[in-house]
């Protein structure tokens, strides 16, 4: 276990001051479910000192709020809180569903949505949903505030465009059109406490004639960077989700995956499975 200096921040201002004061040495810690695993693997002999800035208990980053058609989620809201929030279960059920499938109860009680984003694991379960929602991440530093679309925030596996000294304070997104149906599906090696080998989020809204007028589809794990998959969305827009279209989507998603991630050892397994879960996830929305 690496040696550290531990600092607990009780406000956003204090956290930013710590980040500034310990520039070059500071590392944010939220629930700790990823950071502790990394620290354990690092050797004590790493000579550069590390200063952990604990932001988990900053109350200003722990709220779930509604402002008109905008939903704001503090970055320190835990997976359990999102999974159990009556408001989010009603407004964005697939976000609650995704968060209810992260790790086990102990991980969900500590793991936060902000931590899930900043850790930038390609297998993060909340991310495809937030991408489908076109979420924005809000960052604060001693230089001020900035907002970045989540889709642009990820620059590669385990890499984001967060700057040194910056703190992710909240995530915002617009409500889905009234009457949208959503789903989140994940495939892991076991049914509980597993890391997603594939996951996807989908939301669909139909007009009075039954034609799709809002479609959002995002996949994680199988893409180098999570993104909305317009190739799938455009198949459905203006049409009804017929079995023929579902079949097309099933084939298309496999092509998209191979195009972006290349042929791998696992492709023989993943290609049909991502197709099947795409089919059944969209079919379930009818």
């Amino acid at each position: 276990m690496r040696d550290v200096k531990f600092l607990k921040a009780t406000s956003i201002g204090e956290a930013i001051t710590f980040l500034d004061e310990y520039r070059g040495q500071a590392q944010l810690i939220a629930g700790g479910t990823d950071v502790l695993v990394q620290l354990r693997e690092e050797e004590k002999t790493i000579s550069s000192p590390l200063c952990l800035v604990d932001v988990f208990d900053i109350m200003d980053m722990r709220a779930i709020q509604e402002e008109g058609d905008l939903i704001r989620i503090g970055s320190m809201v835990t997976h359990t809180e999102i999974a159990e929030s009556a408001f989010l279960n009603q407004a964005v059920p697939f976000l609650s569903l995704a968060c209810s499938q992260v790790g086990g109860p102990q991980i969900r009680n500590r793991g936060t949505v902000g931590g899930n984003i900043v850790n930038a694991s390609p297998a993060a379960d909340s991310v495809p949903v937030l991408i489908a929602l076109d979420a924005m991440v809000h960052l604060r530093s001693n230089k001020g505030k900035r907002e970045v679309p989540l889709s642009a925030f990820f620059v590669g596996p385990y890499k984001t465009s967060i700057d040194e000294g910056e703190l992710l304070t909240e995530i915002t997104f617009k409500r889905l059109p009234e009457g949208s149906k959503t789903n989140f599906v994940k495939v892991g090696r076991r049914r509980a406490l597993s890391i997603s080998r594939m996951n996807l989020a989908v939301s669909m809204h139909c007009d009075a004639q039954g034609h799709v007028d809002d479609m959002r589809f995002a996949a994680g794990s199988v893409m180098p960077r999570p993104r909305r998959i317009k190739e799938i969305e455009s198949l459905f827009l203006g049409k009804t989700a017929t079995p023929e279209l579902l079949q097309k989507a099933k084939e298309e998603i496999g092509e998209v995956m191979v195009r972006e991630s290349g042929i791998r050892k696992s492709t023989i397994y993943k290609k049909p499975v991502i197709g099947d879960i795409t089919y059944s996830a969209i079919e379930s929305l009818k």
Partner: protein, 428 residues
């Protein structure tokens, strides 16, 4: 039904209350005054000659009380359950990545781990034997130079005349089956606490399966009299066969002897998985002959078990598979050879079932293939061939006086199977 005292009754475990309250003492829960923390440096290579070990930097680290290598072992430095082929601390060459090169006792865990990183080992990396096929290859090096090949044991099982019987068989199935290495993954990591008194007598607490056997191995390897070593089995958090082997106790004991202080040595999960014995990976070449009515007439099999760098109980595990590859079926003609092979893989030893699960993979899949081939229900095929009172076993041709149980079990399962089949079975 007879009213038994225990059978059919819900019996409360004696230690259940201690366990649900967290009061049960596992070795890691023991603390002594002035207790040191022990840690062990494991080989960085699966097969390597040790040309030199420099412990000076580790010894100089404040908080380190002792650093030990093979030179410091007073006894035979050898142990093992079936063959004394393991070394407490490796002298000349490491045979797998779990081999112990040096051990350290320090005031804290952090210092002990830091000391391990300061030990410089000069390795001459040797080509490694990493599969059953390689173990047989004449180009492969010997894992143990005391033997002429990497074959640790070969056992024959013979009954009737298999070659002749195959000539009369209507159907012959020839298939090769492989099974993989499996980790026991008991919840409790290996841990031992050793306390040495002023006369040099040792008391060791360890989670184990057979304290007397540990006691014998520790005494001999470390050069102590049997009467100088006491081994106490601490509450054991799962073993499943693997804690039959010596794990941490011998190192904790040696460190305590050399420091005259209590020493606790607990493995982290990674070390546990890298060093502990596993279920043997098998390769089974299996030939089964039957009449077109489904009566088994002959079985021929070659079983190869990869026991890794050390025997552990690998001699007996693989031998036992040879006795069980005919399954719970009566086969009049049997010809089986079993081989236990040394490789530079992680050691394999005892694991629930002791070689039998692997053998059953082969015979039961063969039975299903046969059933499909002759168009017979797999349950009927098994009922036709299974051992019953009055039939004879494969290995000893011992006539079974009582029921075996499989016939009654299959009869009970049959209606459920038939119903499932009628509803479409697998294609449902």
């Amino acid at each position: 039904m007879t009213d038994y005292k225990y059978i059919g009754k819900r019996i409360q475990r004696k230690d259940a209350k201690a366990k649900v309250t967290g009061k049960a003492l596992y070795a890691e829960d023991m603390y002594f005054q002035d207790m040191l923390i022990g840690k062990v440096l494991r080989s960085a290579h699966p097969h390597a000659r040790i040309k030199g070990i420099d412990i000076s930097k580790a010894q100089a680290l404040p908080g380190v009380v002792c650093v030990l290598t093979a030179k410091d072992v007073q006894g035979t430095n050898r142990y093992g359950l079936a063959v004394s082929d393991q070394e407490v601390l490796v002298e000349k060459k490491a045979r797998y990545c779990g081999d112990a090169i040096a051990s350290v006792a320090a005031e804290t865990e952090e210092i002990a781990l830091e000391a391990l990183r300061l030990i410089d080992v000069d390795y001459e990396v040797l080509p490694a034997v990493s599969s059953i096929e390689q173990a047989f290859s004449p180009e492969s090096p010997l894992v143990h130079e005391r033997l002429e090949s990497n074959v640790l044991q070969k056992t024959k099982v013979r009954k009737g005349d298999a070659d002749k019987a195959f000539l009369e068989a209507d159907i012959i199935l020839e298939n090769t089956f492989t099974t993989q290495c499996v980790e026991h993954a008991y919840m409790e990591r290996e841990c031992s606490v050793a306390v040495c008194d002023c006369d040099g007598a040792l008391t060791v607490w360890e989670p184990c399966q057979y304290p007397v056997r540990s006691r014998r191995q520790i005494a001999k390897a470390l050069g102590l009299k049997f009467s100088q070593v006491r081994v106490i089995q601490s509450t054991t958090g799962g073993a499943f066969g693997s804690k039959d082997d010596i794990t941490t106790s011998i190192h904790a004991a040696m460190l305590s002897l050399n420091t005259k202080r209590p020493v606790k040595y607990a493995m982290e999960r990674e070390e546990s998985i890298a060093t502990s014995s596993k279920r043997h990976p098998f390769r089974m070449e299996c030939k089964l002959g039957a009449t077109k009515e489904g009566k088994l007439v002959a079985l021929k099999a070659d079983i190869f078990g990869d026991t890794g760098a050390y025997s552990s109980l690998g001699i007996y595990v693989v031998k036992k598979a040879g006795l069980h590859i005919s399954g719970p079926y009566e086969i009049p003609n049997v010809h089986v050879d079993t081989y236990t092979l040394y490789t530079n893989n992680v050691m394999s030893g005892a694991f629930r079932g002791f070689g039998v699960p692997q053998a059953h993979v082969a015979i039961e899949i063969q039975m299903d293939i046969l059933a499909r081939k002759i168009g017979m229900s797999p349950i009927d095929l098994r009922l036709l061939n299974c051992l019953r009172a009055g039939t004879t076993t494969t290995a000893t041709s011992h006539c079974i006086p009582h029921s075996v149980g499989i016939d009654q079990t299959l009869e009970k399962v049959k209606p459920y199977y038939d119903e499932w089949k009628a509803e479409g079975g697998l294609s449902r």
